[in-house]
Assembly symmetry: C2
Homo-oligomer: 417 residues x 2
């Protein structure tokens, strides 16, 4: 007997047939004797429809009202799934965020979960009843409905799993696991049996869309074993691993992964932009003078490269940002030219960031050099580089994205046999 | 300065344009210096869509889950209207049933309001803020969302008006008031300036669709002056009465109506059925033996006629019921034949109940006789009669409905000049 949290996204609950399919997945686990809580998203398309209504009502809308409107999508799905489970003879009830409660901070529209009272869900589970919880939502300190921002249902599921001390949090989605890279770009991409929290966090941050970044952070902090699997399997006879385990990818503590590869995956994110500020005074406080105003303007600066200056007087600063923030960033720089004291700046959109990720890098030298050589062999120019303990990111022209990803995937031996 | 509750139904909030129109109505009252709370229904069609989803999930669904799903419609409208009002520069916020709270009993799907804490709405109103309240919903003793049954938003509005001691509850709808009868049947039907609570209650019970019966009951008990008016008027320049009052029908205490007519209106309801039970023992307890089992089977018995028997041994009982309950009723009667001890029964659907309503009947003799004569003159056969202090109802063949309504409308001098 295990305690499971099962999460189903929008495409998995898109209509009543899909909801019945979800209920069959839940029934399988209940019949196997597990204690089960379920977290659901809104039916596919519903959230977009509700967001469009809010925008239509006013471009600048009160985030608290937006939350009240948009949270209704998950409310509907949780009720419908509870009804469907009951019709299959499974004791179930729905819970909205405010009922549990899932307490968030007051940042309506992008709230963060502060606490979940797991006692009622545990009580329900122990009584053999399935708790069907509306994802993506909670209640703020003002007593009003809050939402966690897009993709927040993953975060709800992991938070619930932490609160009820679940043995595993199963994220059912439209793919059957986490891959070494995007299989649409590299057909030879391999599904990973296991991936560490740290690696998954980098992958999610760096472009993998399988899980929301915050849900991985939360899973890492609370050590919630999170399992990515497909909701499109036959619920009554899902594919299994050779050893009988469910088929998918387990995101878990590094210690649980016996044979750790040096590199686990290649991630990429397009629509990046790059700005270089030329001949900035090379003195303390200049970085703050540049990035303070950008932060205030909500420009999401990512990679920052500053070289030691040749003459000790002036230097260049290069940074990357999402292409959507580019116009705003250049406006800020023009505005602050005197304060910052730079001579010129230049920039461009149409960039891509490609990242090589693996906890094995910590103990292996030469991993970065291998990437640089592989890209150079294909004539791909590297515009900027950043590294962390477990990843190397390079900025390249967007046109080379697929070539670079395929090249690195092969270079690190990730291709499927 | 007055304190107003404004209620808008589904067709009045059918899309964003209609919601903007509603907001303009609200703005007009706020600009006139009134304190305003608004009660809204779900966007037209939305409740049906949600009900269909619940039914699709399971024909027999948990009423508590049904409520969680269906109540989301009003939640969306209240948020959207708050956003729209804010965009017009009007301070507003939405309230869901559980937030206020609107406390109901536990009869999920058809709950009754038990209490409303008006203090928060009054606080908001006095601070110049419009409270936009989701109609049709509340919170049950189990801490779960409850709904009041179809048309419940009228009831929500009147209950809120009672709780905040509003000067008037304006029900905005797709007609411009209460008419002496259905204008589709009698083009000469007249709009009433005022109608008493008692008369409106009979009209609503007897087929007028303008207001939900329970909302009128509640208005009568709490003496909430309720005003039926059109949401399709130009919000910035609505039609007024010659004396400058708003255009519509005021439902109020009898004392407020100076010139009371003898008959105020003619109501009708089609799809009635009639059942006659022949040769029942004429002894105490026989009515209970008949109507007890029917009540248990949720058969909604309306008119009951039992004559004094000629021989003192056996009698006949005739009653009417909605045609939709007919099959169920005959099944019960067949089942209980021995217990009731009747010889035969016969019944028919395709009946119509036509009612003449007016508080003036109390002090005027011969009102019923006038109806019987008028119908007889047209050759319309009366199958059953019931009367109360302020109404006469006759059961006739459905085919004669329009003729009977027109005939009675003229007979009591209700035709428009």
């Amino acid at each position: 007997m295990a305690r499971l949290v099962m999460k189903f996204g929008g495409t998995s609950v898109a209509d009543l047939d899909r909801i019945r399919n979800v209920a069959a997945h839940v029934k399988r686990e209940v019949d196997a004797g597990h204690q089960v809580a379920v977290v659901v998203s809104a039916m596919a398309g519903k959230t977009n429809e509700l967001v469009a209504l809010c925008r239509g009502a006013s471009a600048l809308h009160d985030a608290r009202e937006y939350d009240a409107v948009v949270a209704s999508g998950e409310q509907v799905t949780s009720g419908l799934l509870a009804i469907t489970l009951q019709a299959m003879g499974i004791d179930a009830r729905s819970w909205q965020g405010w009922q549990l409660p899932i307490v968030t901070d007051g940042a309506h529209g992008a709230a963060r979960i502060q606490s979940i009272d797991g006692s009622r869900v545990i009580e329900q589970m122990e009584a053999g009843r399935v708790a069907v919880i509306a994802g993506f939502q909670g209640i703020g300190p003002d007593g009003r409905v809050s939402t966690l921002g897009r993709g927040g249902s993953d975060t709800s599921a992991v938070a619930v799993a932490a609160a009820v001390k679940a043995d595993r949090c199963d994220i059912y989605t439209d793919v059957d696991g986490v891959y070494t890279t995007d299989p649409r770009v590299v057909p030879k991409a391999r599904r990973l049996d296991k991936v560490s929290f740290e690696e998954m966090l980098e992958m999610a941050s760096l472009g993998s869309k399988v899980l929301q970044v915050r849900s991985v952070e939360l899973a890492m902090v609370h050590k919630v074993r999170t399992f990515v699997r497909s909701s499109f399997e036959d619920p009554n006879n899902p594919k299994t691993m050779p050893n009988g385990d469910p088929f998918g990818t387990l995101i878990c503590d590094e210690d649980e992964i016996v044979e750790q590869e040096v590199v686990t995956g290649i991630a990429y994110s397009k629509d990046e932009a790059q700005i270089s500020i030329r001949r900035v005074p090379d003195q303390p406080g200049v970085a703050a003078a540049v990035f303070g105003p950008l932060a205030e303007a909500n420009v999401n600066v990512d990679m920052i490269v500053q070289n030691i200056s040749a003459d000790g007087a002036e230097t260049d600063i290069t940074f990357t940002l999402p292409a959507t923030d580019y116009e705003r960033a250049t406006a800020v720089l023009n505005d602050k030219k005197v304060e910052i004291g730079y001579k010129t700046f230049e920039g461009t959109t149409g960039m891509c960031k490609v990242s090589v990720i693996g906890v094995g890098m910590r103990s292996h030298a030469g991993v970065a050099a291998q990437a640089f050589k592989a890209l150079s062999d294909k004539g791909i120019n590297i515009r900027a580089i950043t590294t962390s303990e477990i990843k190397i990111s390079v900025l390249i022209d967007e046109a080379y994205t697929e070539l670079a990803v395929r090249t690195l995937h092969s270079a690190y031996g990730l291709d499927k046999a």
